[in-house]
Symmetry: C2
Subunit: 217 residues, 2 copies
DNA sequence: AAATAAATTTAGACAAAACTAAAAATTATT
DNA sequence: AATAATTTTTAGTTTTGTCTAAATTTATTT
């Protein structure tokens, strides 16, 4: 599998988690920052290699083989992120871009050794689960902060968006994984929230709340 | 710089260390496992980018810019090798192939953090010097075992060839960096050596001796 | 100093992965 | 049900890096 094929497979996997039907050309093009016509070409190649099932105009789904391949790329991506944060003192907003490259290093042995070296972590620095060598991963119940009712107390478990700007916003407001938050107010007009954290009240937009995974405690 | 350009620059650098004149097309093609015509094409592109000086039929030399780029690739290659051996328990015959991929990960910050994490090592697992972030590296006086005189005692400091088969040969005979060796006999006919190591006499061919760097002690 | 051999470059072709523009199919709207 | 809008695919290019085969230059012999 080439670098580019791997990126496509990974994107199709991520899209599959959200909508379990056939993934359409434009959605893939959007994620991979290419054009629909390029996606059609690549998807044909992936179908040829039996990594996806594809019928013209009907979108694409991962085969068993493709699903496993995708999970192995995600495994590498997230283990490298843990390495960068735990061992090399990178911050959680810096690691995604680097892992985007490191995930393509081709060696089962290397990634299994890295896994061991890191103590078989179950989650990456953004709260996402790390597949084991067989593709198994834990499933933690979490919901978006934007969907939690008023006056509930929640713990922050992960982020939906791991772009640097969002993560830096969280850092600035001292929100990290494990932070405990109480929802004090929900503004009906714009769905912004007033939350209580470490005795301080802060106001956050609906967009922020819609990218924070939490569980009610 | 692309993956392929980096490989060319590194090969030209390694060849430059042996013969300081213009590096010729065929030598590069041999190392990179491509054809002379492909080398000509690439060399033109590298000249365009001012990484090499090139005149038709006259071979190629690295510019200052090209030399620095080459050293940074070598730095990455060797630091990753140290990481794999020291932290992930790989053996010295396994790491070269992996480092060949890892050396292309593009991040100054990552490699400087890795350097620090490893304790700023001065040499890689094969005894080769690791350039610092400015391209500086130590120069240890070493010579090939094949060139040392009779009855001398030497210490093994490095290998010229780091192919798995050679390194596995050394493992089999318990020769590692730091091993002390005395030359007992040199056979005039084939230049094979009888050496004394840990009280045991072993016979090694001239080809083996010609790939082991040592210093007289 | 030719003639021959070897090394190097050019010319033309190909595969991978992307693009633009146009055609075709599907979906939504009147 | 017909038309319009959207999505997807096809056709034809482009760039990067490679190749083979032929032409050219340099090096080595006679
Ligand atoms: Mn990637
Ligand atoms: Mn992550
Ligand atoms: Mn390489
Ligand atoms: Mn090495």
């Amino acid at each position: 599998m080439t670098y580019s094929e791997e990126n496509y497979i990974k994107v199709i996997y991520h899209l599959s988690l959200v909508s379990p039907k056939g993934i359409n050309t434009n959605a893939i093009a959007g994620m991979i920052e290419s054009k629909a016509s390029s996606v059609t070409d690549m998807v044909k190649k992936l179908a040829e290699k039996e990594l996806v099932d594809y019928q013209k105009y009907q979108g694409v789904t991962l085969t068993q083989k493709g699903l496993h391949a995708a999970k192995m790329i995600v495994r590498k991506h997230r283990l490298w992120e843990v390495f960068l944060v735990e061992k090399l003192d990178f911050t959680w907003d810096e690691v995604h871009a680097l892992a985007e490259e490191l995930e393509h290093i081709k060696s089962e042995k290397l990634i299994n050794r890295l896994d061991e070296f890191l103590g078989f972590p179950k989650e990456d620095p953004h709260g996402d689960p790390i597949p084991d060598r067989y593709g198994q991963m834990i499933k933690v119940e979490k919901q978006l902060l934007s969907e939690v009712g008023l006056n509930k107390k929640v713990m922050c478990l992960g982020v939906k968006d791991s772009s640097p700007s969002f993560l830096q916003y969280l850092d600035k407001h001292q929100i990290s994984l494990g932070s405990e938050i109480e929802i004090i107010n929900k503004e009906a007009f714009d769905m912004s929230l007033t939350i209580l954290m470490n005795g301080k009240e802060i106001l956050i937009s609906n967009k922020i709340a819609g990218n924070l995974f939490v569980k009610v405690i």
